[in-house]
Amino acid sequence: MRRNEPVAGVKWLLHWTREFFGENDYPRYVAEWQARHSIRSAEPGHRLLTAREFFNERLRIRYGGGVNRCC
């Protein structure tokens, strides 16, 4: 048990580092999407976004308009 503790700590740290950098967002989106729809029965306009499309979408939200950077 004790031997596993550092491994758990590193995993926890890695998880949160990836979380902070937003790298868990796409897998989470895929999981949520799959839970809601079946990939095969995806309707037009509701298809699963690719990683690149998802990243573009995030860029649009963050920089597409409005104030996103302060002084």
Binding site: F21, E23, R52, F55, Y63, G66, C70, C71
Partner: protein, 702 residues
């Protein structure tokens, strides 16, 4: 942990009493230790700050959340109610705190405290800590709350809905003006830091290809792999610092990379324009990531190094001649109101209200989380300002004034009239040794705040057990860190300014409002660059140290915007039937109105030409008329006259528009409280939260 559990939990009470006691001891030490030979350790500044933040977050913000706002987790936030997987996305609170902090954390809190250190370390430190608790963090929290209850509406829209359409329009125009001022003053700080510094310029220029490679990495090669690209970027930045050192000492490249201030001004303008019209993934996004992670990392490193090194504060607690008589050579004017204007972002920043009513309210998943993000995020920003004050206050005062004024060293050491008769020991050898240690030709007259902060940071970092004594490397690392940060504001800020101009222009001619129509993109980008570029050029060529005038205008404008945000919030609280708690926002609003209006009136009308714009313009005009100006200086003197009249006009315009909004707000409060008008709150109807009933936490595991 609930309020009830704390009330009955003696262990919690003991812990909080200890935290409060440590904070009180910190304040007593930094404020109370006086006398010959008495020295204060900088660690006490950190203790006072952190303990105050902890107590304020735990008690004051909780009281605001429960009593004043009545945050309700059973009510769906816009992110949950709309959840369109586009703009409205329920997001984990820690991730959102990171996003929000990245958006509010700019270079302002790094520079303001350094300039305000002139008054002594104590006034600025107290304003940073007390100001954030009662004004800055309250503003960010309350605007986030108000916006989230209105489906993420912007500040201008809320002012229009809750005060009057007229107030909303004025808010829109004043925000654009403030944006131009902010961009100009921050660009001026970079120009002052990089002028005639081949090492700094090389390092900063190298950040451009690094950012572009990161952009291609995240967008094309490995979509979304921000972590990998950021690790690569950080490693390359460190390499860039060493390449800069090599170039600076190179016989051919060194002189070629030594650029004059005016050349840098035009380079900055071209950069701002290009960054505004390029796709965001090329420059903006990677720079944003790099600078945010750098800021968090560097400030944490500085805090750890300060605690390990435990340096003593060398700046006096209060420089009386500057504080009470206004004779300071760095920031003209007395402590009141100018310390509250010079330190804007670390204590309260109106610009945060635009972020708090931007993307953040559309992503918060539960109402209670707004306390962590709004109030907590601003406390983090205040800590950055506190660390900047530590870096400035631990420098030798003589070195500080030699760097931040253009006065001869003998005048500083002798306490000449130009130094307000205060003497601070400094010798040419001392400055030469220091310049050689950091790899610069000279550090004398390196005004603007950024070089001072870099020397202060380098001294702490290099002398701590973490630093390895590499003073020059740490200095240029700090310069790169500051410039990188400010350039991020310049590129994103120019783009945001472009959106604002397009938004306004769209009301007059529809195609101008189309954000992706290229003729509009080019025209509006050129317009916003011209706006801040002119102010930057003006500041760079001001013989009286342009940063003095522009920083004051920026501080006044930024704090006035905060007053507008707090006036809107007070109106909303009164309409919510919470008039008895309206002081929470009305009190900081009143303070900001008093300080900004006093500062603006003094800067415009003060009879002393060192302080008043019009006095300096008139004195210069008289000098020209008397024929005392050499023919070579005539054009420059005429520019001084024009620039100071221009600054006075901007100051007057700001006072006028903000006075209109505040008067209109107070009129509304009177009508509402006297029952002459019925309160109509433009709040969205309550929708029950599914997340609360399911006990789910959106956006990932805890």
């Amino acid at each position: 942990m609930t309020t009830t559990s704390v009330r009955h939990n003696p262990v919690s009470w003991v812990i909080w009493i200890l935290v409060a006691g440590a904070g009180a001891l910190g304040f007593a030490t930094i404020a109370g230790v006086r006398g010959e030979g008495a020295q204060v350790n900088a660690v006490w500044m950190i203790v006072a700050g952190l303990c105050t933040y902890a107590v304020a977050y735990r008690f004051y913000s909780r009281w605001i959340a429960t009593r004043v706002f009545g945050l309700d987790d059973s009510r769906a936030t816009p992110a949950e109610a709309i959840d369109n997987r586009r703009d409205f996305v329920p997001t984990n609170r820690w991730v959102l705190l990171g996003h929000h902090f990245a958006a509010i954390a700019g270079a302002g809190p790094l520079v303001g405290p350094v300039l305000a250190a002139q008054f002594g370390y104590l006034p600025g430190t107290l304003w940073i800590i007390v100001g954030v608790v009662f004004a800055g963090a309250v503003q960010d929290f309350v605007v986030l709350f108000c916006s989230a209850r209105r489906n993420g509406k912007s500040l201008g829209q809320m002012a229009k809905d809750e005060i009057s359409p007229f107030a909303g329009w004025i808010a829109l125009f004043s925000v654009l003006l403030i944006m131009a001022l902010i961009l100009a003053v921050l660009a001026l700080v970079v120009v002052s830091a990089l002028a005639e510094s081949p090492w700094g310029i090389t390092t900063i220029l190298l950040t451009l290809p690094i950012a572009i490679i990161m952009g291609v990495w995240m967008k094309v090669w490995r979509p979304g792999k921000v972590l990998e690209a950021s690790i690569f970027g950080c490693a390359m930045l460190i390499v860039a610092v060493f390449v800069g050192q090599w170039v600076a000492t190179h016989p051919t490249l060194g002189p070629a990379m030594t650029l004059q201030a005016n050349t840098l001004v035009f380079m900055m303008m071209i950069y701002g324009f290009v960054a505004s019209v390029l796709p965001v993934w090329v420059l903006l996004c990677p720079r944003d990531y790099l600078s945010t992670f750098m800021k968090i990392g560097v400030i944490s490193l500085l805090a750890v190094a300060t605690v390990m090194l435990a340096p003593y504060i060398k700046m006096p607690a209060v420089n009386a001649a500057y504080a009470w008589k206004g004779l300071g050579p760095v920031v003209p004017g007395t402590l009141f109101p100018f310390v509250f204007i010079t330190i804007a972002c670390g204590a309260v920043s109106g610009f945060h209200s635009l972020v708090s009513s931007g993307t953040t309210p559309k992503m918060v998943s539960r109402e209670s989380e707004m306390r962590l993000i709004g109030y907590g995020g601003m406390l983090m920003e205040s800590f950055v300002a506190l660390m900047a004050m530590v870096a400035a206050a631990t420098l030798d005062p003589g070195v500080y004034f030699a760097m931040n004024t253009k006065l001869p060293l003998d005048q500083i050491a002798a306490g000449a009239a130009s130094m307000g008769n205060l003497a601070f020991a400094v010798t040419p050898d001392q400055m030469k040794t220091l310049a050689a240690a950091v790899g610069e030709k000279t550090l004398i007259g390196r005004v603007g705040g950024a070089p001072t902060l870099a020397v202060g940071m380098a001294q702490i970092l290099a002398n701590s057990p973490l630093g390895g004594g590499l003073m020059a490397i740490w200095y240029h690392f700090a310069i790169m860190f500051e410039a990188l940060f400010i350039l991020t504001t310049i590129d994103t800020g120019t783009r945001v300014g472009r959106f604002m101009v397009q938004d306004l222009g769209g009301h007059f001619w529809k195609p101008l409002g189309r954000t992706s129509w290229y003729p509009s993109v080019l025209a509006t980008s050129a317009l916003i660059v011209a706006m801040w570029g002119y102010l930057l050029y003006m500041g760079t060529n001001d013989p009286n140290g342009g940063v003095k005038a522009l920083w004051a205008l920026f501080g006044i404008a930024n704090q006035m915007l905060a007053a507008v945000a707090l006036a809107t919030a007070t109106t909303i609280l009164i309409k919510m039937g919470k008039a008895r708690y309206a002081w929470v926002t009305a009190m900081p609003m009143a303070w900001l109105v008093i300080t900004t209006f006093s500062a603006a009136v003094q800067r415009i009308f003060h009879p002393d030409p060192r302080i008043g714009f019009l006095a300096l313009a008139n004195a210069t005009q008289t000098k020209i008329a008397s024929g005392a100006v050499k023919p070579d200086d005539l054009a420059r003197m005429q520019t001084v006259v024009f620039n100071n009249r221009f600054d006075a006009a901007i100051g007057l315009l700001l006072v006028f528009v903000v006075a209109l909004i505040v008067i209109e707000s107070v009129r509304q409060w009177y009508l509402l409280l006297s029952g002459r008008k019925q309160a109509h709150l433009a709040e969205e109807p309550r929708v029950p939260s599914r997340l609360a009933t399911a006990g789910a936490i959106a956006g990932g595991s805890e």
